[in-house]
Amino acid sequence: MTLLLSNEEIEDLLTMPESLAALELAYKDVAEGKAIPGTRADSVGQTKGETDTDEALYQLKMMGSIAESLEVGAIRINSDILTWPTKSGTKRRTKAPLAPNNRWTGLVLLFSMNTGEPLAIFPDGIIQLTRVAATTALGIKYMARENAKTVGLIGAGEQARSHVIATAAVRDVESFKVYGPTKANRDAFCQELQGKTGIQMTPVDSAHEAVEGTDIAICATNALDPVLFQDWVEPGMHITSIQDKGASEIEPEAILKADVVAVHERGNMSHGYITKTKGVNMPDQGEDLTMMPELEAVMKSPTLAEIIAGLAPSRTSDDQVTCFLNYRGLGVQFAALGHAVYNNAKKQGVGNELPTDWFTENVCP
């Protein structure tokens, strides 16, 4: 039988500590050549979908990976209507929920490496929120100062929320300072998460104020312009960012201030994974980091996997600045977390089973 799971079920099946452990092992396997990171391929074209903004495009995104020690292959798929509305004066990327019942389309398919059969199909939403934050947190675990206690968080959305939980799982955090452009949002965010984590959460009026004097500065926004600047980088700080859609959240000059940089996957740092139909212009596809001559050496930095596996050096003193560029999803994250979700679901008897024959065939493809 092929297991069908929902986001609600996955939320109960997957804890942050377990996600961190699963990803940590998967990155070790990647570094040792036992798992394939699984880089992205996006096809982008015109859509007839109607959104609130003039700019809308269709994107079919896929990434595939194999994790040998888990004996699974995984594919993550997104079928998105992308839009770029302007919010509080800043252009942001978002996805319009145009599927029936105002929903989005994102799926993970998990396969057995021994028989090829589809083991499970489930939506990617919760895993997506979890894997980005857990990966940032692994960067913190392996690169930030051991005694890091204070965190500056730029962003107060869903990704930022997940980053609070993940960061608190890898360091004894005493306080977070949080900036998001909308006051009401950041206030509510802090109130909710302070209640949930017991950690002091303080909303602040600017991004600079959020990171000033902190040990760890996290960018978890959907902004298309840089949000963290070179003058804000202080000795001993660990700076980290989740996306480079329009431009890197951390401005290039700030990245250059780091003594130790880790990238997510060297072969996956450019925007070269996108194929577009003629005349399509993505508002957030400017110059990527690999196109900047001054960052040529930085783009050859070790990967997070190499640092986790001990194959590349991390921080050697408390004064050093470290930086992790958590850019672009990798298939292996979905293999690792998908496998954890599947195992837990089977153990607990959660989910609906569909006949595997629906998804296999008696014609040799």
Binding site: M62, G64, G73, S79, G125, I126, K278
Partner: protein, 361 residues
């Protein structure tokens, strides 16, 4: 609702004519820049041996979208690859190791208007149809107008689909078939002659098949060259479905060379771990040193759309390299099949909510 369809549904609702016209239309869209294929990804690793044969697991994904049709497709296969020796020749095949001895290959169709999954169905029948239809489109647009004799090298299911597809694009008199096993090629001819209404003649050697043929179609699972430069005759159109079937010198010698897609000739999409080796690549030549010039040849889309010229006279030799799946083919064929399946009320409807979400991914 999201429609779950079967290979039987594809067979019932989707004809070779449907496939030919759907692909032809989409290749025109490709040439206009309105349809595209995304980067393909194949990942491979060792897996448990199968019946004593060294085996590899291969997870293969490709995608494509046709903005004019409003449809995007993702095709995936999750397979156990083996390369057994049959009648002295090494062949590639896939072990049916999924429950009930089945294979795993799926096509997922999405709306580019809403993003929703429209349909999910196995790729097996469509896979053989789209490969054959693509070869036949090359014959339609590049072979001589008066071509009437086909040499078919291979007598497997892929060869069968090719016989059918070629019979739809030229008024054929005879298809001569060679494959190494006598009994196999005889049964193949007997069965297909009735189905497609063209004289099918089994022959004892590949030379006997290609002598005087107007179209030479290679559709084998062989791992070595099956057609050679010395066998070429003026005016012939030669098509191959796999890198390695044609002697490289033969490809170089063709007056008109057309490739499937320039971005899809090498193995940049392939990653392997743990010593897994794709033996398919052993005899391949595309993208190797001195061969890069092939990628500058016109694509099939260029020829179909009239952007570039194919054959200019009846004496020229022409050659089409139908290498590697091309994601947009599944968008094209999938869209045509989906619309017919809806009309004929085929398949099972599953709630689309099972495959969508209310969490922004």
């Amino acid at each position: 609702m999201t429609l779950v369809l079967s290979n039987e549904d594809v067979e019932a609702a989707f004809t070779m004519e449907d496939c030919l016209s759907a692909l032809e239309e989409t290749y025109r869209h490709v040439a206009e820049g309105q349809a595209l294929t995304g980067r393909r990804s194949d990942v491979m690793t060792p897996t448990e041996p199968y019946q004593g044969e060294e085996a590899s697991y291969l997870l293969k994904i490709m995608n494509g979208a046709d903005a004019k049709l409003g449809i995007a497709a993702l095709r995936l296969t999750s397979e156990i690859m083996i390369w057994p020796e049959i009648s002295g020749v090494r062949r590639r095949t896939k072990a049916p190791r999924a429950p009930n001895d089945r294979w795993v290959g799926l096509v997922m169709l999405f709306s580019t208007t809403t993003g929703e999954p429209l349909a999910i169905f196995p790729d097996g029948v469509m896979q053989k149809m789209r490969v054959a239809a693509t070869s036949a489109l090359s014959a339609k647009f590049i072979a001589r107008e008066d071509a009437e004799i086909v040499a078919l090298i291979g007598a497997g299911w892929q060869a069968g689909a090719h016989a059918l597809a070629l019979s739809k694009v030229r008024a054929l008199k005879e298809i001569r078939v060679f494959s190494p096993t006598k009994k196999r090629r005889e049964t193949f001819c007997k069965e297909l002659q009735e189905e497609i209404g063209v004289t099918m003649s089994p022959v004892d050697s590949p030379e006997a098949a290609v002598q005087g043929a107007d179209i030479v179609q290679c559709a084998t699972s062989a791992m070595e060259n099956v057609y050679f430069k010395d066998w070429m005759q003026p005016g012939v159109h030669v098509a191959t479905i796999r890198d390695g079937e044609l002697e490289p010198a033969m490809i170089d010698a063709a007056d008109v060379l057309v490739i499937h897609d320039p971005a899809n000739m090498g193995h940049a999409h392939f990653q392997a771990i743990g010593g897994a080796r794709n033996k398919d690549h052993d005899n391949e030549t595309a993208g190797r040193e001195g061969r890069d010039d092939w990628t500058s040849a016109p694509s099939l889309a260029d020829i179909i759309s009239g952007k570039k010229t194919g054959r200019e006279n009846d004496n020229q030799t022409s050659c089409f390299l139908n290498y590697r799946g091309f994601g947009v083919q599944f968008a094209a064929a999938g869209a045509a099949f989906y619309h017919k399946a809806k009309e004929m009320k085929l398949g099972h409807d599953l709630p689309t909510d099972w495959f969508t979400e209310d969490v922004l991914p």
